[in-house]
């Protein structure tokens, strides 16, 4: 078994990177002085995986929301379900499905080995029947309805639906009432067998633990598998947005908006450097220390809930600005104007240095919590990076990188505005 130590001198942190004989990648960060431990067992399978590879190498469609549905159902087994097992240990267990991964997790301050065994065991042992699938349709149906009333969620998905013609990032993570009605137990087994291969997964643990403890449980519970990483189908997407504006009415007090800029790249995933450079650029354009922010704030066009995100994943990347405003169209025009201004007039290099310093501090702040660390280890592994990559990469970002990015992205011809208006 190969055990690598991944270190960072500045942070005085290290973790172990292990290729377990079962095929699973295991990452362990012991934290001195911590009483709790957090573990996440994740697979590279999320809501964007709406195509499954068949034996002949072609792809077949599966219903929207299947990854999330499978996440709910995996907790069940023929006898005690996973929640009942965790109830005996006191751990707090949960799971989540995002666009590009599904994670099962627990945190505990005692009985760690027992908890880890439950986690590895239940995720490796699916049990689906038609009756339990039907029961879950009621629960998830209510989850879907709940999100329909959450304006932040609606404004985002409307924006993504406007932006993309084909990419599955435009669909709701939980699917729709109609799509989940099509899910069957057999379908869940097919997806499970395709995506829950240990070679497609990672276990990340941080906190009050040791390599020996984790490996003792892993050796006992992990079942070696043959197989390979599940393949993701690359989906064609035109450069243009599907629509440049949409609005919907919901019971909100102040209108909400999301302005998105669609990007086109030659490779499906963004590098750490591209992401960091974009974070810096966006903070320089519209962060809380900028002239644009002050202008919008003083003109009563935005409030405290204004922000941006570089939204990226396999096959998609876009820039999103979001907030609450009585005049979303003017805010949108002002943001576009500021981007043009940056492009034409350039920017002060002192601002670039200050923003970098802030980013450094914020990265340090993200290195405290065991849940954040374990999640970061898992996500970094799926991105072929390590947890410390960003710390090394941010130093290499130059003013030139920012200028180049500015010329390549944030093109208003490929932007779209999504608005939620009050319905009374």
């Amino acid at each position: 078994m190969k055990i690598n130590e991944i270190r960072n001198e500045l942070l005085n942190e290290m973790y172990y990177d292990i290729d377990h004989p079962s095929g699973l990648k295991i990452l362990i960060m012991p934290k001195a002085g911590y009483t709790s431990t957090y573990a996440i067992f994740a697979t590279k399978y999320g809501s964007i995986d709406t195509m499954i590879e068949t034996k002949d190498g072609s792809f077949r469609e599966i219903p929207e929301g299947t990854a999330h549905f499978l996440e709910h159902k995996l907790f069940e087994s023929e006898d005690l379900d996973a929640f009942e097992r965790f109830a005996k240990t006191g751990a707090s267990a949960n799971a989540y499905t995002s666009f590009d991964r599904t994670g099962y997790l627990f945190s505990c301050s005692g009985n760690f080995k027992e908890n880890l065994e439950i986690l590895l065991d239940f995720v490796q042992n699916p049990y689906f029947t038609q009756a339990t699938v039907e029961k879950e349709q009621g629960i998830i149906g209510q989850e879907i309805d709940m999100y329909k009333d959450i304006p932040d969620w609606e404004v985002m998905f409307n924006c993504l639906r406007n932006m993309y013609h084909n990419l599955p990032v435009r669909i709701d993570i939980a699917g729709t009432q109609e799509s989940i009605a099509q899910i069957t137990a057999d379908m869940l087994y097919d997806c499970y067998n395709n995506f829950y291969n240990l070679n497609n997964m990672v276990l990340a643990v941080a906190g009050n633990t040791t390599v020996e403890e984790v490996l003792e449980v892993a050796d006992k519970v992990l079942k070696p598998v043959e197989g390979k990483m599940a393949q993701r189908k690359i989906i064609e997407e035109p450069k243009e947005v599907k629509a440049d504006y949409c609005e919907k009415k919901l019971s909100v007090a102040t209108p909400q908006f999301m302005l998105g800029f669609k990007e086109e790249w030659d490779t499906p995933e963004r590098t750490a450097k591209e992401e960091i450079a974009m974070e810096i650029l966006l903070d320089m354009i519209s962060g809380p220390s900028t002239d644009l922010y002050k202008r919008l704030f003083d003109a009563n066009l935005i409030n405290n809930n204004f922000g941006f995100e570089y939204f990226t994943g396999f096959g998609y990347s876009c820039v999103l600005f979001a907030g609450e405003s009585n005049d979303p169209k003017t805010v949108s025009e002002e943001i576009k104007k500021e981007i043009r201004h940056f492009r034409e007039k350039g920017f002060d290099e002192k601002v670039f240095e200050r923003t970098k310093k802030k980013l450094y501090g914020r990265m340090i702040m993200g290195m405290n919590d065991v849940d954040g660390l374990a999640n970061n280890m898992a996500v970094s592994y799926f991105a072929d990076e390590d947890v410390f990559t960003d710390f090394e990469t941010y130093k290499t970002v130059t003013v030139e990188d920012i200028r180049e990015l500015l010329n390549k992205t944030l093109d208003e011809n490929y932007s779209t505005l999504s608005v939620i208006l009050p319905n009374n």
Binding site: I139, Q142, D149, K358, M365
Partner: protein
């Protein structure tokens, strides 16, 4: 843990540790929930965006950027019948500063500048700033309705506590905020400095002495006259009240408010916490395992215990048509807890889960700070370990006894008015 009295009703609590890469400071200032709530609610937001030294928020934010992205946030909480103005600061630990800066102390200096040395205009605050902050606070109050789950809970509280101070929104009311003058807000600020119960909680590796010194200096010129804060605990319930409102929404929100026999915040609160957890806490609870898992009625159905007022609030998101079914089952599950109809295993699951999560509080500066700042009214502070000991001493019979006193007071249902249109793609 280091405790120090800074002035009358002002306490400093500091946990020195180099376990974390950041330091965290919370300043909590508590006043009674009363007619001055709106004028005080606007204060933390005004104060945290500027000060005499850095008179506008862009300048201040740039200073924070230079301090390695230190962040200052402001908020208002309700705890029992008190309103707590709260400031939080997070900065990197000095050992990560790249040029030998003393970031943490500078940040504390800045935070105290904001609170004690704000941007003023004579005996008032600048009128344009007050106008802008009023606009922001009004939007914040109005936008609370955007989160329907929270909104339904607030409406239930308004109805249930209509004759008690607890019904006052911690952020004040839109009508009152609209009429606030700069002079009123200024005198509210003066009043808080003089009358609030104050706790400063800090976690990190920084020296405590200079911070204590700084705070003592700040308070040396303030004549303290601490306001008394009392929360009324109502144990009597007449006929439960039912209120239903309609809105253009997709999913109905059911809230059920219960009272208990608690006489004050500490009266039987430990067994009550376990009782409420067995009723509607973790995944082993009655509400999760029956109302969600067995009956598939909802995605969430849970009970929350507010010891500071001695009440229990149950919330669930359901289809409107299932309202009665859900309501009856929730009451049925409560009666089972009150009859002691839960296994020893459920009891021990609950104790294990509560103690596990309490002990986990030791592992982030934010949770340590929150743990101690929530004890602002306690004479002596309790460590997570001491609380866990109390939990482990509770017997099943005590849980059943207190569960019997949980009595339905108010039901609030937020329903669809049938006007929601589904998306067309």
């Amino acid at each position: 843990m280091h405790f120090e009295n800074i002035a009358d009703g002002v306490r400093l609590c500091a946990q020195g540790t180099d376990k974390f890469k950041t330091c965290r400071i919370n300043i909590s200032m508590a006043m009674p929930l009363d007619s001055g709530t709106s004028a005080r609610a606007i204060l933390p937001f005004i104060l945290h965006r500027r000060c005499a030294k850095y008179p506008d928020y862009i300048t201040l934010n740039r200073v924070l950027d230079e301090l390695y992205g230190a962040s200052v946030s402001a908020g208002v909480l309700k705890r029992g019948e008190s309103q707590i103005l709260s400031f939080n600061l997070t900065a990197i630990d000095d050992r990560f500063a790249l040029d030998g800066d003393t970031v943490a102390l500078e940040c504390v200096q800045l935070l105290t500048d904001m609170i004690f040395d704000p941007l003023t205009e004579g005996e008032s605050f600048p009128a344009d700033i007050i106008e802008q902050e009023k606009r922001l606070l009004i939007e914040a109050i109005e936008n609370e309705m955007n989160d329907k789950r929270r909104y339904a809970l607030m409406r239930c509280e308004e109805i249930m506590f209509k004759d008690e101070a607890y019904s006052i929104n911690r952020l004040g009311s839109v009508d009152e905020v609209k009429t606030l003058t700069p002079e009123e807000v200024y005198s509210a600020w003066k009043e808080v400095l003089c009358k609030a119960t104050i706790q400063v909680t800090m976690v990190g590796s920084m020296d405590i002495a200079p911070v204590a010194e700084m705070l003592k200096n700040r308070f040396s010129s303030i004549k303290r006259d601490v306001a008394e804060i009392n929360t009324v605990f109502v144990n009597e319930v007449n006929q439960p009240e039912y209120v239903c409102e309609e809105m253009p929404i997709k999913q109905g929100k059911l809230v059920m408010g219960f009272r208990t026999a608690m006489a004050d915040e500490y009266d039987n609160s430990v067994p009550m916490r376990i009782a409420v957890d067995i009723f509607g806490g973790g995944t082993y609870s009655k509400l999760f395992s029956v109302v969600r898992e067995k009956m598939s009625l909802c995605y969430y159905c849970s009970a929350a215990f507010f010891s500071s007022k001695g009440i229990v609030m149950v919330q669930s998101g359901i289809e409107d048509a299932n309202e009665e079914k859900a309501r009856n089952e929730i009451l049925n599950q409560l009666s089972l807890v009150a009859k002691g109809d839960f296994s020893d295993e459920d009891f021990s699951s609950s104790i294990k889960s509560i103690t596990d999560s309490i002990i986990s509080n030791n592992d982030t500066p934010e949770s340590i700070c929150a743990w101690y700042s929530s004890q602002i009214f306690r004479e002596s502070l309790k460590t997570p370990e001491a609380y866990v000991e109390e939990i482990n001493e509770v017997e099943k019979s005590q849980v059943v006894e207190v569960a019997k006193t949980i009595t339905l007071d108010t039901v609030f249902m937020l329903k669809s008015n049938g006007e929601v249109i589904d998306d067309e793609d």
